[in-house]
């Protein structure tokens, strides 16, 4: 008797995506371009972090941005206003970006003149965690007003990221956000994650984050 054939659609989708992500990663490596996939809840500060990073790294690195949004061009407009090239992916409903969306977006950028590409993913702590975009680094933002318990609810996002930016630390005063509790919750699901405390409003911690990122990029392409 024949074995039952099982088509696992979800598994197939994720595996096709991984293949595509691998191709993106090796194409970018050849051109010595580093790509960061930035993920967070709506309003956690993704665009602000990118703008602050542009400000600090634009003299030493040539930057480009891929903006993911369900609708609207507002974020792309903020990037291009800084003279930085941006490509907008309008998903029209999809709640995450995947590798097959990144490939055509990269074609819209002048890759011969870029060192660092930021992907601003859809504002969502769930599905973006599952899809490899071909980026070299997965970064996430958690903003203080969201609370210190988000690790318990969205563990996958915290476990897949290489770096966590705790943003809006200017809101810590008078809040019941427990930074120590956050750190120990995060370490429990991801012992290797690098954590920075930042504020895009006051500028605190941003030099440290940008310095660390610049070193990562240099280390990758030095060999």
């Amino acid at each position: 008797m024949d074995e039952i054939k099982l088509i696992d659609i979800r598994k197939n989708i994720l595996s096709d995506n991984e293949n595509q992500a691998g191709i993106i990663r090796s194409d970018l490596a050849e051109k010595k371009i580093f790509m960061v996939n930035l993920m967070a809840s709506p309003g956690a500060g993704k665009t602000s972090v990118i703008l602050q990073t542009i400000k600090r790294l634009r003299d030493t690195l040539r930057l480009g941005v891929i903006e993911g949004d369900i609708e609207s061009l507002v974020d792309s407009e903020k990037i291009t206003a800084q003279g930085i090239p941006a490509v907008q992916i309008r998903t029209g409903g999809a709640c995450h970006l995947d590798a097959p969306m990144i490939t055509p977006a990269l074609k819209e950028l002048d890759l011969d003149n870029l060192d660092l590409v930021f992907i601003e993913n859809i504002g969502n702590l769930v599905c973006p965690a599952e899809f490899d975009t071909g980026a070299d680094l997965k970064a996430m933002i958690l903003s203080v007003p969201e609370g210190d318990d988000k690790v318990l609810k969205y563990p996958l996002m915290f476990s897949v990221c290489d770096v966590l930016l705790v943003n809006k630390i200017d809101y810590l005063d008078g809040s019941d956000f427990n930074m120590q509790e956050l750190y120990s919750r995060v370490r429990r699901v991801n012992s290797k994650i690098k954590i920075f405390q930042i504020s895009c409003k006051t500028g605190k911690g941003l030099d440290e984050w940008c310095g660390w990122l610049a070193e990562k990029i240099q280390a990758k392409f030095k060999a």
Copy 2:
């Protein structure tokens, strides 16, 4: 020649969901139970709003809560600590609740002794907007730290909701959040939406929201 047969999986899923949601709604109406589907970003204050609503309505209405989470029981524990029955749906990855998840959850509640059921949806402004859960009222929270531009990025959520709770207005001081701009953006996608400005921290606006909700419930079952 035969016509090509097209199976639109997405359309089928949504239509199956709607049928199920219709059944839930009529079953609850028969028992004179009102159900609210509460949606928001992670950390916008869904559990806090439910706790504050329980506090104000528990003397006049018998409440129950269905908690949706990808992982963890933390929210359910906060509800049951108040002596209010709660059912936890652990989606294990899914980024929204749908009607087929609500049906078994309702079976876990003592429906003969309830007037009002809150669904706390997954923290996500994208997919929950697409799925009817069988609730009588769709409510969403936007918290001030998320910013006043979220309507532009997640228009579907704002357009499907009956009521918007603008939470954490205690953060307005010193913020660049433009309440007038928010209202006009919201009205552009949804002219009928009811808006309350609230703070679960200071208690501001919560009596108004709870009074309005109690009237809605009374109006529905008076006829």
